[in-house]
Amino acid sequence: MWKTIIRRILVMIPQLFVLSLLIFIMAKFMPGDPFTGMITPETDPARIEELREKAGFYDPWYQQYFTWITNAAQGDFGKSYTYKLPVSELIGDRALNTLWLALLSVFLLYLIAIPLGVLAGRYQNSFLDKTVVLYSFISYAIPVFVLSLIFLFFFGYQLQWFPTSGTVDIKYDTGSLGYLWSKIYHILLPAITFAVLGTTGVIQYLRTEVIDAKSQDYVRTARSKGIPINKVYSKHIFRNSLLPVAAFLGFTITGLLGGSIFIETIFGYPGMGQLFIQSITGRDYSVITALVMLYGFLTLLGSLLSDIIMSIVDPRIRID
């Protein structure tokens, strides 16, 4: 198994390298440079020129790429010119927000998907099963932004159950219980939206796993030993079906990252996705390149995680 994991990580390195090269080339095509933001009517053009010279603006591209990538590896992505902050500091705050959102979403996702998947598989072709299949079909087909807007419209504005933007009410002190609750309250609606959209894969997988397991020998053995049917489901089938579902975690993370751009923009949630759209509109290129690189790294990490869990769960799967 270790061999598989190490091999999988080694495959990741060239992918990261090519991605970074692609981002570097894109960054070269972006108009302006980190000093454009500093230019004011009083700035001496010669001074800017001097700064450019010093920062290696006129070095050959491979040298620039090398400087950029070594700095990036140490977490130094330069300065954001709209926020006048180091990019790493700026992203750090936003990343924490996105992380909270992601954690709650994943929790809700499995909370919804596991019972639905198991029950639909157990009572196959029942009314419940058909409803679940229909639900997972709709949640698969609906685009992120349409569902987000409909949820925000109904639960946020019409019913006023949830706040419509932000992360926390300002009236609470940091660290108090009210602050924590207000924070969770703000994350709840976007997290539910995420969870509803992400359930499809887990439900369908779990449902087929349970249906397949029903005709397996170990289930028949358990039943003939006299174990009650409920216990067979909760102890035997459930455990065997859950392991492969765990492998979905990696894909869920990847899906979350892509969706965060839409969800955070719509729900006014200051995470990395919203920051990305803001930086694109504000042409804040050092932030853009850092975010694309980070998302790329996290996406790769997500698929790596999936493969590792898979190889633990099912030793037949080998990666060459």
């Binding site: 972006m30 079909f137 504005y157 042409r283 853009i288 698929s303």
Partner: protein
């Protein structure tokens, strides 16, 4: 045309003795599944209706700003109300839907052609060709393509619709290629392919004349589902403001007015019809795709 009709006659004559052909199986599946039939018929009516209606609309007249009709609610003058600039929502909906559908169709055709050819060839030959393309496909699948598409859209000079289609196609063919490859890989080891090889049939003929027809139902399913996906991606990008250029309304542009909280909470007629139309298109196309997929798999068929 002649050859096709001749083929059809032979097929109908043989139908008593031979197993039903792909199209017949699909037709039977749709007869059995009422919801799929309904989806297909309503989808055809909506799409054809949008294209015909869009020619009746004077786009320049429609896009003229008239501040007196700002946020006019649905009524006699505007069936679905008006937007911030007093422009008719219904007209924008039809034109937007036409643009969105046209672009989705174009992307589906381009990515489908590239994906199918590369998938079939790599799956059939295997070896180093397969290896090289799989590395490329793996790379495309693991990068944050949505973000990179957005960056490309913003840095490309002279941005227009063909460039938008091109950018999306570059990032969307690998998904199709990967699926077609895995199917052609297993199809390639079948006896009839080996028999053709032994008889000395050229590789090109085997791939496109023998293997492709046998995979046709899977290819149709894949194209249908990717069409739905492309509608979603185009409207999503236009929603964020990185899709069609501002001069060309899309369904996503109409939905994007809802990012203004006032419009979202009170002027539902601006964004809700477009959202529901997107929802309808996605559900119907996906449902049709799944019905075809079922008919392609003998174990899941209803009919």
């Amino acid at each position: 045309m002649n050859e096709q009709s001749g083929k059809l006659i032979i097929e109908t004559e043989l139908s008593a003795s031979s197993p039903p052909t792909g199209l017949q199986v699909i037709a039977r599946e749709f007869k059995k599944d009422k919801l799929a039939m309904f989806s297909l018929i309503s989808l055809v009516i909506v799409i054809v209706g949008i294209y015909i209606w869009s020619y009746q609309i004077d786009q320049a007249e429609m896009m003229r700003v008239s501040l007196r009709d700002k946020f006019a609610p649905p009524g006699e003058k505007f069936f679905l109300g008006a937007d911030q600039g007093g422009r008719d929502i219904l007209g924008q909906l039809i034109i937007g839907a036409k643009n969105s559908l046209t672009i989705a169709i174009a992307i589906t055709i381009i990515t489908g052609a590239i994906g199918i050819i590369i998938g079939l060839v790599t799956g059939y030959f295997g070896g180093w060709i397969d290896n090289i393309f799989m590395r490329i496909i793996d790379f495309f699948i693991t990068i944050p393509s949505l973000m990179i598409i957005i960056v490309f859209v913003t840095i490309v000079p002279k941005y227009n619709i063909p460039i938008f289609i091109l950018i999306l196609s570059v990032f969307l063919w690998p998904g199709i290629a990967r699926l077609v490859r895995s199917k052609s890989l297993s199809e390639g080891s079948r006896d009839y392919i080996n028999a053709s090889k032994t008889m000395g049939t050229s590789d090109g003929v085997i791939i496109f004349k023998k293997m492709m027809p046998n995979l046709s139902s899977i290819l149709i399913v894949e194209m249908t589902l990717s069409f739905a996906g492309n509608v979603g991606i185009e409207t999503g990008l236009s929603f964020l403001g990185f899709g069609l250029p501002p001069s060309t309304p899309s369904l996503g542009t109409l939905v994007s007015y809802a990012t203004n909280p006032l419009v979202l909470s009170e002027k539902w007629w601006i964004w809700l019809p477009a959202s529901l139309l997107i929802l309808f298109l996605m559900l119907a196309i996906n449902y049709v795709g799944q019905a075809i997929r079922r008919s392609a798999d003998a174990k899941q068929r209803l009919g």
